[in-house]
Amino acid sequence: MIFRRRRRPAPLSCQELVELVTDYLEGALDEQTRARFEAHLADCDGCSEYIEQMRETIRLVGRLGKGDLPPQARAKFMTAFEDWKTEQG
């Protein structure tokens, strides 16, 4: 005999979970889905590794740095300031 716990939602598969990682990190999952997500994560090394790699990816992008403004671009933008000052009289 199969005992069905009807109230319990189906567990997420790894394949489903990886597509929800950003919604999870952004706090955009509804409560029930978040609970299923976290239950899966607590029990799955592969998905734990995957989400850690997504976090590392975010850190790596952050480490690229904004880069310096090319001097000629900076000079151009400061010209906007001079133009505006002239307009102001």
Binding site: E16, V21, T22, E49, V61, A73, M78, W84, E87
Partner: protein, 222 residues
């Protein structure tokens, strides 16, 4: 993102200085915000030179508009929106398709189906092989520099809309609601673009590490 009290105080002081024509304050916002503005503009227009022109135009527009700024968003978000609006109309003039058309959202899974057990098999949808963990990347090491170059190239290769969102969020540090407001995106669409972008960059980084490991093993056997 609702401006926090400190953000509000910061913006109020900055706005006051800009309205009064304080050159130092203007130089500060130019240095702090222009790199992100240029990157954003470049997603709409075809050359770096045009992107510079867009940003110059945006700064002039911002200077003219500071007096009328009502503080309903953060100042930097409002300036970013000016860039997006100008870049969009210039891009259209260059007959470029807007980067935020539905086609740019991409389709299909972000992790290949071959990575998971196929439907019908036991443990369908579970990892076939677990993702291999990545090496630590301390600052200043050669490996880190190489990995960062891979990440930089992966970003460059993204569709424009995905690159715009991931760069604003993860590189320039804008919040999700700031990005939505500046680019005229819904929260849901912003997350789709961010997810696809991050997943693509993760995939490229993973491939780099596994190729590198493969090479190291190959050398070991010589």
């Amino acid at each position: 993102m609702m401006p926090s009290a400190t953000d509000e105080e910061f913006d109020a002081a900055l706005l006051e200085a800009l309205r009064r024509g304080d050159e130092k304050a203007f130089a500060w916002v130019i240095d702090a915000w222009s790199p992100g503005m240029l990157r954003l503009a470049r997603c709409y227009v075809p050359t770096d030179a045009l992107a510079e022109d867009v940003v110059q135009e945006a700064w002039l527009g911002a200077l003219r508009g500071f007096d009328g700024f009502e503080g309903r968003s953060r100042l930097r978000t409002w300036v970013l929106r000016i860039v997006a609006n100008i870049a969009k109309s210039w891009g259209e003039r260059e007959h470029r398709v807007t980067p935020f058309s539905s086609a740019s959202f991409g389709e299909g899974p972000t992790v290949g189906a071959e990575r998971f057990n196929p439907p019908g098999e036991p443990k369908a949808g579970a990892w076939r092989a677990l993702p291999a963990s990545w090496p630590a990347l301390p600052e200043g090491e050669l490996l880190s520099a190489e990995a960062l170059a891979v990440v930089r190239q992966a970003l460059a290769d993204l569709p424009d809309a995905q690159r715009a969102v991931i760069a604003l969020r993860d590189l320039d540090g804008y919040g999700s609601s700031e990005v939505c407001e500046a680019l005229g995106l819904t929260e849901g669409n912003q997350r789709v673009l961010l997810h696809r972008a991050r997943a693509a960059v993760r995939q490229r980084t993973e491939s780099y590490f596994s190729d590198r490991q493969g090479r190291a093993h190959g050398e070991g056997q010589l």
